[in-house]
Amino acid sequence: MKKILSTIVISAMLLVASSSFTTSSSSLGGTEIAVIVHKDNPIASLSASEAKLSYLRKIKKRWEGINKNIRPADRKTKCAEQEVFYSKVLGMTADDVEKYFIARQYQNAEKPQDKFASDKDIIDFVGDEGGAIGYVNSASLTAEAKAKVKVVLTISN
């Protein structure tokens, strides 16, 4: 009986510990991200739901006005910016996003999202590629970066 009780107590402690760990790991400390497109893209601003549809190439596959392929840019590894973008803009988990792009590639021959190691790489890609859309930490948008890309949405955690 004692053994069972102690097992239950230890299990409960582990559960509490794991849930508090989850809470602290998903606490992003007020990260603000900016959704960016190429500076020549005529889009002035996007709502979160429009940004989602564009990024996922759900309804439109090409930007109107410039008729260029929408090219989503993503981070290679999990980071605070990605977590905010996935949860606040896409409303999807990392696994859902990955699976979504795999399915689109298989079904429609669509190129999956391009992945980059840093905000700087995403800014360079969006600055070079007319149809690109990406997200970066707002703090990464220096004056030099702002000359290459246009902010169409900002989201705070």
Partner: protein
Amino acid sequence: MKQKNKISKAKLLILCLVLTTGTVFSQTAQISGFADVIAVASSDTAGGKMQTKNNFSLGAIDMFITSQFDKVSFLGEVAFEWDEVDFERLVINYDIKNYFKISVGKFYTPLGYWNNTYNHGTLIQPTISRPEVLGDFIKSMHLKKQIGFQFQGDGITKYNLGYNLAVTHGITDIGYVDDADEGKALTLNLHAEPIENLKVFVSGLYDVVPKGQQAVSDSILLTDADFQIFNFGVAYMNGKLPFEFIGEYYNVSHNMAETKSTQGYLLYAGYRIKKFVPYISYDVLLYEKGDQYFNTNNSNAATLGLRYLLNAKSVIKLEYKYRQLETTGVGHFVTMQFAIGF
């Protein structure tokens, strides 16, 4: 034998084409694929005797190359199965506008939802096996995939209306480089997504199988036979809500000797609980008595399953399936599948 050699040469030709095109587009080409391994325990009345089996089996290694260069995109797909290599698809798309794209090559016949969405994609398919109506039945008419061209478009109006209009080789088997008849099949699929991930669709195909062709039942057609396929359905998959479902109805009618129609439908429903999705499905295939074109064998199958998403690229499915075939009776199957993407 001569026919086999012809097909082998054709496959070789297409393989070269896939590789060549892949090389041409190599700057942006990506190779991906799916693979799966299955364990099954079954109790089935095959050949009039109840047989109990349990075995491991290989699914397929499905590899596809995709490439996109501005308005042109390419997909080449090859499936390596235990006894053969199949050229599943070879599609070149020219994406002119959001609402207008031209595709040429070998592509999924744009009928319904399931046939256009899963096929060898065992990682993304919600169940282990295809429903009866989309299994051997549709395969017997060579309608999983077709060779030809299609116009398609999406994102029209706020209801996200879309269309596919395909002109393809049709119901007769053409191998890869030859067509058994001059006539072509016409397929139209109209769909809408009024709410994100909720898809409603209606589709149909018309084709004429010329006299002299061999039916699925091995009979020879004495006159031309008109084939009409009608399909409609609704699907809600991968949405924000935890539930998911697919419902599709098919009616295949032809006038070989006399007008006969085959009906089939599939129902699938699942409920997502974190990484688990318990699901049920039910599908039916009903032939009309006296149908001379098909090997009639009415069937219905009910499945109870559990899907566990290990991560974005691997999934484990466990299913119990009850299947009743008119000819052989009842079968019980417990199947486990480990499917991955790479």
